[in-house]
Amino acid sequence: HSLKNKCTLFKFKKLLPDQCNLLICADEIQNHCDLLRQWLAPSSVRVELNKKGFHREVTTTVEFRSKELSSVKVLLIHRWPRDVYVDPYQLASLSDQNNWKILLDSAIDLEVPAHKASGFVTYVYPFSTGPTSKLFKVTIPIHGRYHKPSFDGKMLKSVDIEVPELLLRSEKCAQLSSLEPHTVVDAPCTASNSSTCSWVKVKPQQDLNPVSFQLPVGDGSLVAHVCGGTLLVTMICCVALSKYMWKHQVI
């Protein structure tokens, strides 16, 4: 085999993927880019919702076809709606138990209601649990925000969680243009956000619908009854208490 003819070598590897390692390649970068291309082969991304109520867990499971893992980095980008939030302090306390690191794109207000909040983006960097595993599982705890009361009789509000984007990069493959037609995206290299790298976006196997859940909302149509009832009971309690205190005052 002529080592100078890299293109020929490249075509060979495409036909015989399992014999890749038997071929002595002068161009290491080309090798790694091939590895990356194999990873871009359809892989499955599954999103599940666990728990109930205002405190939920979003579990993203990514399964790859390829087995060779070592130099490839994985990034999951979740775009969250304004209806939910994550607690950065909770995430920090969970970080030592997890096999992933997370980066938030903005400061999160934990208390503001949904209509005053804005959506945010999280970058999750999972690391593999073993050299031959091709499965990544990331569980993010999220919390629902309070919503504006509804005036149309609906007791629950739907919240949609989109399937995250899956991005890959290899430290040793810089020629991402060779991996077309996959799109190249810029994103932080690691969770420490010290630099930006180019990542390749993996096309999902099929168009996945967002996962959704429901949050209870107040009933705005009862506002008159609630205000009237509350003020009435409070006034009665106030008057009763004053009356007894007047009667039994300490002279």
């Binding site: 309070y146 629950l156 609630v226 509350t230 003020l231 009763a240 205190m245 007047w246």
Partner: protein
């Protein structure tokens, strides 16, 4: 049975045992945090520690979101970072036991026998609620100690007035609610009107003038200047160090707080539904007026018995507040042992009222759990349970007020 009680409440045993039990709880809490998913330590403790860490790095403690306390607390907890994270909890349990000691001393000054006073103090010292709260890392016991210290010094105000003013200024700096005690304290310290036999001869105008002039006496001016001095010095110092954010997070947030998330307050649902409407401010004021009016009435009716007055003040403040969480209950529970010896309720009646209070909370917690952790829309039930809880609280307060028999302490007898 009586022998057992007297043995348990023997002075050294009582205070030592209550400290040791709290220490054991702190140790257990540390174990649970390390081994189980559900943590023992309260989230507030982590907030304090994070704020203290910011201070050790030379930054503002308000960089920690949801830190809504005085910087003094974060400064006090800096040994959490330098020594060990358990320092804060040890400080809180020491203040807790100190509160028990202060309760004992106040009761003795109010004329109780030492053994009875210890028995009543054990209602705080051996009570699982303050034990749990302090060992979980809540700072309420510091404030309880400060308020009880103020009351103790006020009982001995002939010698300890400056101390009372100092402790009072410090307690108002730490949390706003003791500011409501200003009126009964002022009424206590002013020169009372001289009773004239023929009241008709003194004109109304003169009476009114006499009433206001009575506020300008040496004791009250001393108290006001020391307490005010402490408060404004600390405020100025921390404003200089941390700016507007200190003022907002420590005071303004609590004064304007409109938490629309579910809590014990009867106003919660009303404020949630009207949060975005133009009526929001007017309703907020409508909620404030009964609270304010009741505090005025309480001050005027009960200022002569300062401990009872402060208890009623805080209980009414919490019951009629726009936001109410279980932490607030400790604010008046620490004053309840001072009131109990004067209550003519039987043990059965007392326990009945206590059970009623817990039942009121349980009835609220049910639908609240289903809302938050199961996702059912139980807002209406939570609202009704909140109203019921308010009625229960008022009923209990009315029972306390109607069965209260003030005692004449030696100090008061001397003055009269």
């Amino acid at each position: 049975m009586e022998k057992l009680i007297s043995k348990l409440t023997e002075k050294h045993f009582l205070f030592t045992a209550s400290f040791v039990i709290r220490l054991a709880l702190v140790a257990y809490g540390d174990y649970q945090d390390r081994t189980m998913a559900v943590k023992y330590t309260d989230i507030d403790y982590h907030v304090f520690t994070d704020a203290a860490r910011f201070i050790t790095e030379g930054e503002s403690p308000y960089n920690r979101s949801t830190y809504r306390y005085t910087p003094l607390l974060a400064w006090l907890l800096t040994p959490n970072i330098y020594l060990n994270m358990v320092f804060g909890k040890i400080l809180f349990i020491v203040c807790d036991v100190l509160s028990g000691l202060l309760i004992y001393k106040v009761l003795c000054l109010r004329g109780l026998r030492a053994e009875t006073a210890r028995c009543v103090s054990s209602l705080w010292l051996l009570n699982p609620l303050p034990m749990g709260v302090s060992s979980r890392g809540n700072a309420e016991s510091i404030l309880a100690a400060l308020v009880l210290g103020t009351l103790l010094c006020m009982e001995r105000r002939a010698q300890r007035l400056t101390w009372a003013a100092l402790l009072y200024g410090l307690s108002v700096h730490m949390k706003i609610y003791p500011v409501t005690y200003a009126l009964p304290i002022a009424l206590t310290l002013r020169t009372a009107e001289i009773r004239v036999d023929e009241a008709k001869k003194v004109s109304r105008f003169k009476k009114l003038v006499g009433f206001f002039v009575g506020f300008f006496n040496q004791d009250l001016l001393l108290f006001a200047s020391v307490a005010g001095g402490v408060f404004f010095t600390l405020t100025a110092l921390f404003y200089y160090m941390y700016g507007w954010q200190f003022l907002y997070e420590t005071y303004l947030y609590h004064l304007t707080r409109r938490d629309i998330r579910h809590n014990f307050s009867p106003y919660f649902y009303m404020l949630y539904l009207t949060a975005e409407s133009t009526w929001s401010h007017r309703l907020g004021l409508a909620a404030f007026l009964p609270q304010f009016a009741l505090l005025l009435v309480t001050s005027w009716m009960y200022y002569k018995d300062l401990a009872f007055c402060c208890f009623l003040h805080t209980a009414i403040f919490v019951t009629f507040n726009k936001v109410c969480t279980s932490q607030y209950f400790l604010w008046y529970l620490c004053l309840l042992p001072l009131v109990i010896p004067n209550l003519s309720l039987t043990v059965k009646q007392g326990l009945g009222l206590l059970l009623l209070w817990f039942a009121g909370q349980a009835i609220w917690l049910g639908p609240a759990y289903f809302l938050e952790f199961e996702g059912y829309n139980t807002f209406l039930w939570i609202w009704l349970a909140g109203l019921l809880f308010q009625v229960v609280n008022c009923f209990i307060l009315i029972q306390i007020v109607t069965h209260y028999k003030p005692t004449k302490t030696p100090l008061r007898l001397k003055a009269e």
